[in-house]
C-alpha cells in the first residue's frame, strides 16, 4: 500500500468529520450530566430525531439542509424540554435506577413513534453540495464535510459564549458547579435543568442534521450506537467537562478512523473502547475530569 502523508491526512480528515458529530452529541450529553447529574441513555434518540426532522423539513420545503438547522434544533430543544418536564423532573433525585429505566423506556417510545410516522426503512438525503469536492493537494475534501466542520465550530463557539457571557449561561454553570449554592443565590435550578436538557437535545439534534446532510443513512434504530459512543466520550473526557467532551469526541473520531485504516473497519469500536479503558486505568476521572471530594 502506498501510505503517504496525503492518505494519512485524508484519514485524519474523515476522523475530524466523525469527531464533529461525536462532539455535538457528547457535549449535549455532558451538559445534561453536569447540571442534572442524570444518565440519559435515550440521548442518541435525539440525534435520530434530528435526522428525521431535517429529512421531513427537507422534503416539505426543499430548503438547503444547513438552513434547516434553524428549524430542527429548536424542535429538538422543545422536545428536550418536554422530556425533561414529563419524564426526568418527577424522578430527579430518586435514584439512578429510575433514570435508567425512564431513559430505556424513552428509547422504545422514540423509536416506535418515528417508525410509525416515517416507517422503519433506511433513509438518506442528498445535500445540494454533495457533488462538490475541493482538491487540496492529495486531499479530496467534500464541501459538505468542510461545511460540517465549520458549522460544528460555530455552534461550539456560540455555545462557549452563551455559557461564559450570558446570565443564563452563568446560571447554568453555577448550577453545574454547586446546585445548592446556586439555589441559595436565587437561581431557579429547575428552570436551569429544563433549559439544559433542551440545549443538550438541541445539540444532539444538530448532530443528527449534520449526520443526515453528510449522506449517511438513518433509520429509527440508529441512535443507540452513537449514544453508547457519546457515553464513552464523556467518560473519556471527564464527566461534566465540556472541553473533555470536545477532546474526547475528536480522539474517538480519530482513533476509529485510523483503526479502520490500519486494522480494518470491524476493529474500530473495539479499539475506541480499549482507549477508554486505558485512559480510565491511567486517569480514572477521565482526561479533564476532577476528582470528587
Amino acid at each position: 500500500m502506498d501510505i503517504s502523508i496525503g492518505i494519512l491526512s485524508q484519514v485524519a480528515f474523515w476522523g475530524l468529520y466523525s469527531g464533529c458529530i461525536y462532539i455535538l452529541l457528547a457535549t449535549g450529553l455532558n451538559l445534561i450530566f453536569g447540571v442534572m447529574k442524570i444518565v440519559n441513555f435515550a440521548h442518541g434518540e435525539f440525534l435520530m430525531l434530528g435526522t428525521y426532522i431535517t429529512f421531513f423539513f427537507f422534503v416539505i420545503t426543499g430548503f438547503n439542509p444547513y438552513v434547516l438547522l434553524i428549524g430542527s434544533v429548536p424542535v429538538l430543544i422543545v422536545a428536550g424540554i418536554i422530556v425533561e418536564r414529563l419524564c426526568f423532573r418527577p424522578i430527579l433525585g430518586t435514584g439512578k435506577l429510575n433514570e435508567i429505566f425512564i431513559s430505556l423506556g424513552l428509547i422504545y417510545i422514540f423509536q416506535n413513534l418515528v417508525a410509525m410516522i416515517w416507517t422503519d426503512e433506511w433513509r438518506s438525503m442528498k445535500s445540494p453540495f454533495a457533488d462538490i469536492t475541493i482538491a487540496l493537494g492529495p486531499l479530496q475534501l467534500p464541501l459538505d464535510y468542510l461545511i460540517i466542520i465549520v458549522v460544528t465550530a460555530v455552534i461550539l463557539i456560540g455555545f462557549y459564549f452563551f455559557l461564559q457571557k450570558t446570565a443564563i449561561g452563568r446560571a447554568i454553570r453555577a448550577t453545574s458547579q454547586n446546585r445548592k449554592g446556586a439555589m441559595l443565590m436565587g437561581i431557579n435550578v429547575e428552570k436551569m435543568d429544563m433549559l439544559t436538557f433542551g440545549i443538550g437535545a438541541g445539540l444532539a439534534g444538530a448532530a443528527g442534521t449534520l449526520w443526515a446532510v453528510s449522506g449517511q443513512v438513518f433509520n429509527p434504530y440508529m441512535g443507540s450506537i452513537p449514544a453508547i459512543k457519546g457515553f464513552a466520550i464523556i467518560i473519556l473526557g471527564g464527566l461534566g467537562s465540556i472541553p473533555g467532551a470536545i477532546v474526547g469526541g475528536l480522539a474517538i473520531g480519530m482513533v476509529e478512523n485510523f483503526t479502520a485504516f490500519t486494522l480494518g473497519g470491524s476493529w474500530k469500536d473495539a479499539v475506541s473502547f480499549i482507549l477508554l479503558i486505558v485512559v480510565l486505568v491511567v486517569r480514572p476521572t477521565g482526561l479533564f475530569g476532577e476528582a470528587e471530594e
Binding site: 423532573r89 422504545y108 417510545i109 433506511w122 469536492t133 434504530y221 479502520a260 473497519g265
Partner: protein
C-alpha cells in the same frame, strides 16, 4: 395525585401500547376447520428491516394467492385448508431471531417456517429448529457455515438460495470472463494483466463465506485475478470513507462488495462522491432490490451485481411470465416491486404448499420427507434443470445465476439493471463506464 405522577402514568400507558402495537405478531384471520400455519422469520426491525419487510410482504402475497385458489389440499383432512401466516421478527439480531423462532415453534405452533435472512442470525436459531424438528425453508443464510454445519441436526432445514460458494463462483467467473478482458482492452493493457480486486466485506459468516469463496475460486481455477485488499466492516456500518481510502491506496481495478442493502448504498455513494474512487463495484444478489436502485441514485450508474431475481431485469424465457405476474400482483397490493429476498420467500411459501400436498399431512416428519424429495417446476428464479429440488447432502436448491449492469434511467431518475452475463440471458453487452479509472498498471 401530583400532576407529574399523572404524566408518568400516561407515559407508561403510551409506552406499553407502543411496545405492544409494534411487537405483536401480525396474523391473518384464523380459518375454521384447520389451516396450514406458516411462520415467517423476517427482520421487521433493526439493520435489515428494509429486506425484512420485503420478505413479509412477499410471503403475504403468496399466501393470499394460494388461499384465493382454494388453499392447500391436505389428504389426511380430505379438504383444502387456507394458509395462515405468523410473523416472527428476528429484529436483525441473533437474540431476536432466537426469541422469534422459539415463539413461532412453542407458542404459535407453526407447521412449517420460511424466511431467514442474515447468516449470523439464522445460525443462532438453527439449534432451536433442530431441537423441535420443524420444517424450515430458509431463503437467506447463504453462508456455507449455516447449511454445511454438522454440529447440529439440519435435516429439517432446506435452503432455497445459492450458497456463498455458488454466488462467489458466478461473480468471479463473470469478472474473469468479461470484466478483466474489457478493462485490459479498453486501456491497452496486455491481456494477461491480472485484475486487481479489493474485497470489502461484512464481518459476519455471510461476508467471510463470500470472501473465502472468491479466493477459493480464483485459486482453484488459477485465474488471473489478484486480491489486493480484504477490508472487513461491522454489520450495519454506514461510514465507509476510511475503509475506501485504505482501498484506494491499494489501487484496485474493482471492488467486490459483500454487504446488506443499507450498507451498499452509502458504500457506493461514498466511494465515488467522497473518496473519488472511480472504480467498478460488484455487489451480491441480496441487494437486487428496488430500494437499492432508489437509494443509490446516479452513483449506481455502471455498477454490476450478481443476481438471481431482479425487479427491473426479467430474464427472457420460461420464468418470464411468472415473474411479470408476481411483480404486477406485488405492485397492485403494495405499490412497488419485490426484491430478490422477497421473491425467494414468495417461492418458499409455494414450496411449503407443494410439500404439504405431497406429504398429504401436516405431520412435520412427513413434510420434511416431502421437502427432501421435492421436484417442483421453477417459478420466478431460474433453477438448474428447471426444477426446484434440494440436494441430498446439504438440502440446498441450485440456481442459474446471472449478472446485471446498472445504467441511469432518465425517466425514473434511478439506475436500472440489464443482464450482461451469461451469454444465454444477456440483454446487453457489459461496458466499462466512461468515468471508470483502472488501478495502476
Amino acid at each position: 395525585m401530583k400532576r407529574e405522577s399523572l404524566f408518568c402514568v400516561f407515559l407508561a400507558v403510551c409506552l406499553a401500547l407502543l411496545v405492544l402495537s409494534t411487537g405483536c405478531t401480525e396474523q391473518q384471520p384464523a380459518a375454521q376447520g384447520g389451516e396450514v400455519k406458516i411462520g415467517v422469520v423476517a427482520s421487521m426491525t433493526g439493520a435489515a428491516s428494509t429486506t425484512g419487510k420485503d420478505i413479509w410482504q412477499s410471503a403475504e402475497l403468496a399466501a393470499e394467492e394460494i388461499n384465493a385458489q382454494g388453499g392447500v389440499y391436505v389428504k389426511e383432512l380430505d379438504k383444502s385448508v387456507p394458509i395462515r401466516l405468523v410473523q416472527g421478527d428476528d429484529e436483525s439480531t441473533r437474540e431476536g431471531g432466537q426469541k422469534a423462532v422459539s415463539k413461532l415453534i412453542t407458542q404459535d405452533n407453526v407447521d412449517i417456517m420460511v424466511g431467514g435472512y442474515s447468516s449470523a442470525v439464522v445460525s443462532a436459531h438453527q439449534s432451536i429448529v433442530a431441537e423441535y424438528k420443524v420444517p424450515y425453508i430458509i431463503s437467506g443464510g447463504s453462508s456455507t457455515s449455516v447449511s454445511h454445519r454438522d454440529d447440529i441436526d439440519t435435516s429439517y432445514m432446506f435452503f432455497h438460495r445459492p450458497n456463498t460458494d455458488d454466488s462467489g463462483e458466478a461473480s468471479v467467473l463473470f469478472v474473469d470472463e468479461i470484466v478483466r478482458p474489457a478493462i485490459n482492452s479498453k486501456f491497452g493493457f496486455s491481456q494477461d494483466r491480472p485484475l486487481k480486486v479489493a474485497v470489502i466485506y461484512q464481518d459476519s459468516p455471510f461476508g467471510k463465506g463470500q470472501l473465502d469463496a472468491v479466493k477459493n475460486v480464483i485459486k482453484t481455477r488459477n485465474m488471473s485475478i489478484e486480491v489486493v485488499a480484504e477490508e472487513p466492516f461491522k454489520m450495519g456500518e454506514s461510514d465507509f470513507r476510511t475503509v475506501l481510502t485504505s482501498v484506494k491506496a491499494k489501487n484496485p481495478d474493482m471492488i467486490y462488495s459483500v454487504t446488506f442493502l443499507n450498507e451498499l448504498v452509502p458504500l457506493t455513494q461514498q466511494a465515488r462522491r467522497d473518496v473519488g474512487l472511480n472504480t467498478l463495484i460488484m455487489a451480491i444478489e441480496n441487494n437486487d432490490d428496488p430500494d437499492y436502485y432508489k437509494g443509490v441514485g446516479s452513483y449506481g450508474d455502471g455498477q454490476v451485481m450478481e443476481s438471481r431475481f431482479s425487479p427491473y431485469a426479467v430474464p427472457k424465457g420460461s420464468t418470464e411470465a411468472a415473474t411479470t405476474q408476481c411483480l404486477s400482483n406485488f405492485d397492485k397490493k403494495y405499490g412497488g416491486f419485490a426484491g430478490m429476498m422477497g421473491a425467494a420467500t414468495y417461492e418458499s411459501v409455494y414450496i411449503a404448499k407443494e410439500a404439504v400436498e405431497n406429504a398429504g399431512s401436516l405431520d412435520k416428519a412427513k413434510v420434511k420427507d416431502a421437502l427432501a424429495s421435492l421436484a417442483m417446476p421453477q417459478m420466478m428464479e431460474i433453477m438448474k434443470g428447471g426444477t426446484i429440488r434440494f440436494s441430498p447432502d446439504f438440502h440446498e436448491s441450485k440456481f442459474d445465476l446471472y449478472v446485471v449492469q446498472l445504467s441511469m434511467d432518465q425517466a425514473s431518475g434511478e439506475p436500472r439493471p440489464e443482464i450482461v452475463w451469461p451469454k444465454i440471458l444477456e440483454a446487453k453487452e457489459f461496458v466499462v463506464p466512461d468515468w471508470y479509472t483502472p488501478g495502476s498498471s
